[in-house]
Amino acid sequence: MSEPFEPKIVAFVCTYCTYAGADLAGTSRMKYASNVRIVRLPCTGRISPMFILKALQKGADAVLVSGCHPGDCHFAQGNYHARRRWTVFRALLSFTGIPEQRIRFSWISAAEGAKFTELINNLTEDIRKLGPFEQYHELQTVIETQATY
């Protein structure tokens, strides 16, 4: 029998809130799914859409972007800018057929270790049900043979 599907999830988080939240989850001995790979960045405003594409290119089944709640940004406005950007980028991905369920966004403060735990667990469960993002990963595998024409 084949191994059960374990989703690969990449989380791009800001260092001041969500990363601290994840840290809190850890120090509080809260357990969350080990499917998530966390990439820490200074601010959600620093998270380029390229990161999401790269994560998908490298085999992620889902991507999480998370930062400070509106008004709490360490850089005052970074997450407001990010919010607009994600509104647009999410619509774009959805329009090109990359399911919204696979690209998630959240606000998690340094105090919300429990929310982080819950979110990761739920997301992992959701993606486990959805299955691997084969449609996209297939693009990477056909590259080896694709001399398209």
């Binding site: 694709q146 001399a147 398209t148």
Partner: protein, 337 residues
């Protein structure tokens, strides 16, 4: 009496070739684009097009192809060459200009160092050309010493019959002869008249053009700036050209595994010749356009004795700003009147 391939036996013909181990590729129109693709039935073919938007070059020199797969360990390296498989292919319904394009590029890919990525495909392909009975405003084969029924690069030539019931068949090479073997029972003898070929007007005087380009004084002529002022520097003319052969080599992957690929590149792009230092020998669009024209009608001829243009006219047909080889060469012709 000549041999005739009846149109209504085309499906049998495809079946015969397929059972002889050939894939049959023909012009198709799919997803709003005409191109050569493998077909199983004649109804999928789009044989009435003047020209497919994409050339058959795509199947010999693909827009992107893997060259070498690599994996790197600490003090060791594994490489695996990804040479294309030797697949027997028939290209049915090629236009004479596209077929000539292949023949024009052969010497380049064989120049001292043989490019097997080209020849593995080339050596296993049979080109069945259909002479043109229609043309459009951009066709210019007659201006580059070719014609709507030139046989250059073809293995079999089909000439449409006047009554539209089929094609007169002529084998032009051993490979072409061999291809007619499996369909010998389908071919019939006949003396039906063939339709007249398209009349493609001569749009410029290629001899005058070549003479002007060969003159060293022309190189720095103000002409190049004038003629290319509206060029936006995209690569559509080069990528749709049946003879443009420039490429880039790029690695994709990470430090451990990946693939080195050969991708189309275009002399229209500034990055094409940009040195790492920032110095760029061809740093303006006019010098890049000059390179393209010079390469096709002067340098290539000097090396391989043939102009690198088969007159398909795609460069003008598809140009976003209505430029192209025809206009430039017409202007040169007029310069030297």
């Amino acid at each position: 009496m000549t041999r005739i391939l009846p149109k209504n036996r085309l499906d049998d013909c495809i079946a015969a070739w397929r059972s002889a181990g050939f894939s049959v590729l023909a012009p198709v129109r799919r997803s709003d684009l005409s191109r050569f693709e493998e077909v199983e039935r004649s109804e999928d073919m789009a044989l009435d097009l003047v020209l497919t938007e994409r050339t058959i070059k795509d199947h010999f020199f693909p827009q992107t192809e893997p060259l070498i797969k690599y994996s790197i360990k600490k003090h060791d390296i594994d490489t695996q060459e990804m040479v294309p498989p030797e697949r027997k292919r028939v290209f049915f319904g090629v236009r004479p200009c596209d077929a000539s394009g292949l023949a024009i590029d052969d010497p380049l890919f064989g120049w001292d160092y043989r490019d097997e990525y080209w020849f593995k495909r080339r050596d296993n392909a049979v080109i069945v050309t259909i002479a043109c009975t229609t043309s459009d405003d951009f066709c210019m084969c007659s201006s580059v010493n070719l014609s709507p029924d030139s046989t250059k690069g073809s293995d079999v030539m089909l000439r449409p019959l006047q009554n539209g019931s089929g094609w007169q068949v002529e084998a032009l090479s051993d490979r072409g002869n061999a291809l007619l073997g499996p369909i010998s029972s389908i071919l019939k003898e006949g003396s039906d008249a063939t339709a007249s070929t398209a009349s493609v007007p001569v749009r410029f005087d290629v001899d005058k053009v070549m003479a002007w380009l060969a003159d060293p004084a022309s190189f720095e002529s103000h002409f190049w700036k004038e003629i290319s002022v509206r060029c936006i520097g995209c690569g559509s003319c080069t990528f749709l050209c049946p003879t443009c052969h420039c490429f880039d080599i790029q690695d994709e992957g990470d430090t451990y595994t990946g693939i080195r690929r050969k991708n189309w590149d275009s002399c229209s792009f500034p990055m094409f010749t940009m040195h790492t230092s920032g110095h760029n020998p061809r740093n303006t669009q006019s010098t890049r356009w000059r390179q393209r024209i010079m390469h096709k009608f002067n340098y290539y001829r000097g090396k391989f004795g043939v102009n690198s243009c088969s007159g398909c006219g795609r460069c003008t047909r598809q140009c976003p700003v209505d430029m192209g080889i025809t206009e430039t060469l017409q202007a040169i012709t007029n310069l030297t009147k």
